[in-house]
């Protein structure tokens, strides 16, 4: 049934019933959208040159928007494997969660904070006279080269500065972070990391600027500003001050551009012919360094963001996840909401966005990635020209951007979310999972554990699906630096909801037993995760997303060691992550029902999963 137009008014909130044996505090509150990872695709021309299929007519400068799964990395991996194994899909289908599945992953989208580059010391470049002693790094933080007291004057300023900055790169250092030979990483004197991936697959270049910026960095009264900023990144700037000028430039260069906002990273990327590589780097520099944030453009984005909020709110699972997030992350729940809060977005001002730019869009909080049929030396040279004199404002990020500590969950909580659009009861349990900033090894093990549990051949599947207690069960996890849940998603057969939950609890309590999984299951899971990772890195325009994701949620070393670390895991490692983060840990269990279902099931409250042995 078509929903009434809720533009700028928000959805009427649903009754929320708190906790288990505690009070049932039904309150109506505004909702601000879920932590959905968002991707905004822009096209300045009609795209799809060979598309002969019917296509909705669109404006030549139409802006396309879509909400996607929050877990960009895993989603990309899955897309790659699906594409490569198209003919195999019918035989090896993954559990189909549909729209629900996408939102379930939304819960996973965790926090991000900046990753400090150890040992990098930067000082602002001052023009016309630059007096600095800058330590170049080899990627590991060790000082390599020193520049002393450089004087630059008049019209020669920029050219000289560029040359000096470029020369200061010094000889190449291969194998940084254990990266492959066709990867070339350097750090500019101002702290901007540049990573070039040479791949002559096709004559294209993809340029991505990733920023440690996202919901995790936002206080509740800022929640959504990173997302709004993302929408404005490819809008007018000092170099292209009018819409015509920037659209004209996009057309001249044939730029296909896109951007995503997550909890811990925002990434902006363009692809274009490698014949226009230099122009592309300059285009990115202009967008990153000199945004205008015109009131008119901000106002225009409100409508677009509103449509995204409404799209999220059109699925009742969105509200269940909101409720679970509030219980799981407490006062910092908004930091797991990349989509953003409606009221914050609508009240955003140019001044707020400018402050955000000064704080986060600074060289040592960013990485520039360039991949494709390019020469890394030429790329480095152009990056030095375009970004070398990018200074950090006095009130910019000082490498001490703090993400508050997320409080551990004290006790398990049960949350009932009521929504009359619900088709069947859904259960979602969330545990505070491992994060790379605290327990790196456990993050690898969590990937393997959740993969094994989600297979159709798993004991969990047999206990719930083959026994016909449930239609679906899946376990998920998303690697993040600061906060990430392990989730258990269950679609019970309605008449067996309690039995299904009891069975699920019993199964969960066995996960810490190393013998719960066979050697074959473990080997196959490790193998498939590695294969997925390899596919996700296989195309030049996508490898940069993968790299920047790991850069933000861990570091570049995580990228290079991922497959080895996965392969080295033992059943004891798996059991340990299960014991530490699931079996012995409290969780938030949410149930999504209609009021009628609640009445029929007599479920005013319930015992959260896995609480009997605590």
């Amino acid at each position: 049934m078509k929903q009434p137009d809720q533009k700028k008014t928000g959805n009427p909130r649903h009754q929320r019933v708190k906790n288990t044996a505690e009070d049932t505090d039904a309150d109506t509150e505004k909702d601000n959208g879920n932590a959905a990872y968002t991707i905004c695709q822009f096209s300045a021309q009609r795209s799809g040159q060979s598309s002969r299929k019917r296509k909705k007519r669109d404006d030549p400068a139409k802006v396309l928007f879509a909400t996607h799964c929050p877990e960009v990395c895993r989603q990309f991996r899955n897309d790659q494997v699906k594409a490569a194994q198209k003919e195999e899909q019918a035989q090896a289908k993954q559990p189909e969660l549909g729209g629900i599945g996408l939102l379930i992953f939304g819960l996973h989208f965790a926090v991000t904070k900046e990753q400090l580059i150890p040992g990098v010391i930067t000082q602002p470049l001052e023009v016309p006279i630059v007096e600095y002693e800058n330590l170049m790094t080899d990627g590991h933080g060790s000082a390599k080269y020193v520049l002393h007291s450089v004087e630059i004057k008049d019209g020669m300023q920029r050219a000289l500065l560029t040359i000096l900055v470029f020369l200061s790169f010094g000889p190449l250092v291969f194998g940084q972070f254990g990266l492959p030979e066709n990867f070339h990483h350097r750090t500019l004197p101002n702290g901007l990391e540049v990573l070039v991936v040479e791949n002559p697959a096709v004559p294209l270049a993809t340029i991505e600027l990733a920023v440690r910026h996202g919901a995790i960095h936002e206080a509740a009264d800022e929640n959504g500003l990173s997302h709004l900023y993302e929408h404005l990144f490819f809008k007018t700037n000092a170099q292209y001050p009018s819409a015509d000028s920037i659209i004209g430039r996009i057309n001249e260069l044939g730029i296909v551009f896109n951007a995503t906002t997550g909890d811990e990273r925002v990434n902006y990327f363009i692809s274009l012919s490698n014949a226009f590589l230099n122009e592309g780097i300059d285009f990115m520099a202009a967008a990153a360094r000199s945004p205008r944030f015109s009131a008119e453009e901000i106002e225009r984005e409100f409508d677009i963001l509103e449509s995204k909020l409404q799209r999220a709110e059109s699925n009742p699972v969105h509200f269940m996840i909101q409720d679970i997030n509030k219980a799981l992350w407490g006062e910092h729940a908004s930091r797991k909401n990349a989509l953003g809060a409606r009221d914050v977005i609508y009240n955003a001002t140019t001044a707020q966005l400018e402050a955000m730019h000064r704080r986060y869009f600074v060289p040592d909080n960013c990485i520039l990635l360039v991949s494709g049929d390019v020469d890394h030396e030429k790329v480095m040279q152009r990056c030095a020209q375009a970004f070398g004199d990018w200074e950090k404002p006095a009130d910019g990020a000082d490498n001490t951007i703090q993400v508050p500590e997320f409080n551990p969950l004290e006790a398990s909580v049960g949350v009932i979310t009521l929504d009359d659009r619900t088709q069947t009861p859904l259960v979602l349990a969330a545990f505070q999972g491992p994060v790379t900033s605290k327990d790196r090894t456990a993050t690898f093990a969590a990937d393997v554990l959740t993969y094994m549990l989600s297979q159709a051949t798993s004991r969990l599947n047999a206990a719930l699906i083959k026994s016909e207690l449930a239609y679906q069960v899946a376990v998920g996890y998303n690697t993040q630096k600061y906060a990430s849940p392990i989730t258990v998603f269950l679609v019970p057969q309605p008449q067996y909801i309690q039995a299904a939950m009891d069975t699920l609890s019993a199964e969960i309590n066995k996960w810490q037993d190393p013998d719960y999984f066979t050697e074959e299951e473990l080997d196959q899971a490790k193998k498939m995760l590695v294969i997925q990772e390899l596919y996700s890195r296989s195309t030049p325009s996508e490898v940069v997303h993968n790299l920047s994701y790991w850069w933000a949620s861990a570091d570049l070393k995580y990228f290079s060691e991922y497959t080895d670390r996965i392969e080295a895991l033992t059943r004891e490692d798996i059991a340990r992550v299960a014991a530490d983060y699931i079996v012995g840990a409290p969780n938030v269990t949410g149930i999504l029902l209609t009021k009628d279902m609640q009445r029929m099931l007599e479920m005013d409250s319930f015992t959260p999963l896995n609480t009997t042995e605590q």
Partner: protein, 445 residues
Amino acid sequence: MTTIIRPVFLIASLMLGLLAQAQEHVTAFDVEGLKVILKRVPGDIVAARLYVRGGTANYPIEQQGVEQLALEMALYGDSENRSASAISETANSIGLGRSAKSGYDYGYLGVTFPKRYWDTSWELLSDVLIRPQLNAEDFSRIRDELYAKNRRNNEPAEQLIDALSMQNTFTGTDYEKIPYGTEGSLYGLSLDNVKQHFDDIMTKTNCFLVVVGDVSRGELENTVASTLALLPEGEQRQVAPIDTVVGAGANIQHQDLDLNHVQGRTPAPDRYSDAGVANMLGMQLLSDRLGQAAAASGNLDYAPTAVAGMEHRYPTNTLYISTGDPAGELKLIIKTVEETLAEGFSEAELEAKKPFFLTLNYLGQESADAQAHALGDAEAAGDWRKAFGLTAQVLDMSVADVNRVLAAQFEWVNWTYLGNLSQVLTEDFAQIKQPVKPQPDGEKN
């Protein structure tokens, strides 16, 4: 006289250098009679495609679909050494993807796999190609699956109309055949037909291999020598040119649909020639014009599209629309095309199109499998080196050439209609009136 060197020419010069660099990554060689093309690129994924020359020339119309069925039976059926399920299980366990397709000009069997499973992947590929069982059980199962897949694919009328339009335009030629077959042709085939066809086409003379990945020539030579080089030598098969077409016409077929579908097919030049590149650019610009005209008309659901032809033996362009007002939309398309041909495109229009054309074209070719396809298509068209000329050709193209080439493609239009008969008249499917005057050589500004 002032000579102005436009940036685009400088860029074109640059691209010639890039072209040379790009080709450096490709080598072609022969392994015991099997032609092999290797593109060495970094990365963990390898794509290998065994191309079969001939396409629809390889079988009579009564057996249309036989090549697709033969390729699928090899890939998804039992081999002499393993069952189909064992093959599938192995493929899944090592992340090996499989694909098989028979088209108008060629067919292929393709695999993609992580390089770390090189040996296992080649063992499997060799097994299914050199030692397929092609047994009765697989024949029945895979034929049913193919038929079901065809039905699914043809349910959307916009896909069905493609095949109908080819049949209407190329009646009596190889291009009249439907590569994936019909119910009648598939169920008229015997197992012996399939076996015979497989033996006929799967030879070193009739096939060539394309591999893309981080693979050395020596490594590939050794592997091919012990696997695909075991294919029989075979004989050169003749592929007759297609030199006659129906030409102008209108084929109206009734079908109760929410939207009516119209496709117009016109001649097109060889996609790899300079004229072919001019045609591709021209058709994209025409598509933009059609979209703008549809938007201006204000009462149509979907924009018409113009797509350049990619077939090898007789390429054809297509105009396509799905609409609730087929008569009105046809008038709009015809009027827009005629006006476009009369006016020509401006230099500014073309120059704005070129960069996007390149970006979008190559974004779809980044995967190892897509790169293998680009090389394979070019080789099937005569020379794999053709795959590398596009960027320079595009950047060097003049608007005069685009206008001239596009105008030459509307000598005839073969219309196909799928929809409600009451909404169209035969005279709605008019031919395109050619411009009275030829395009001037100068560029329009």
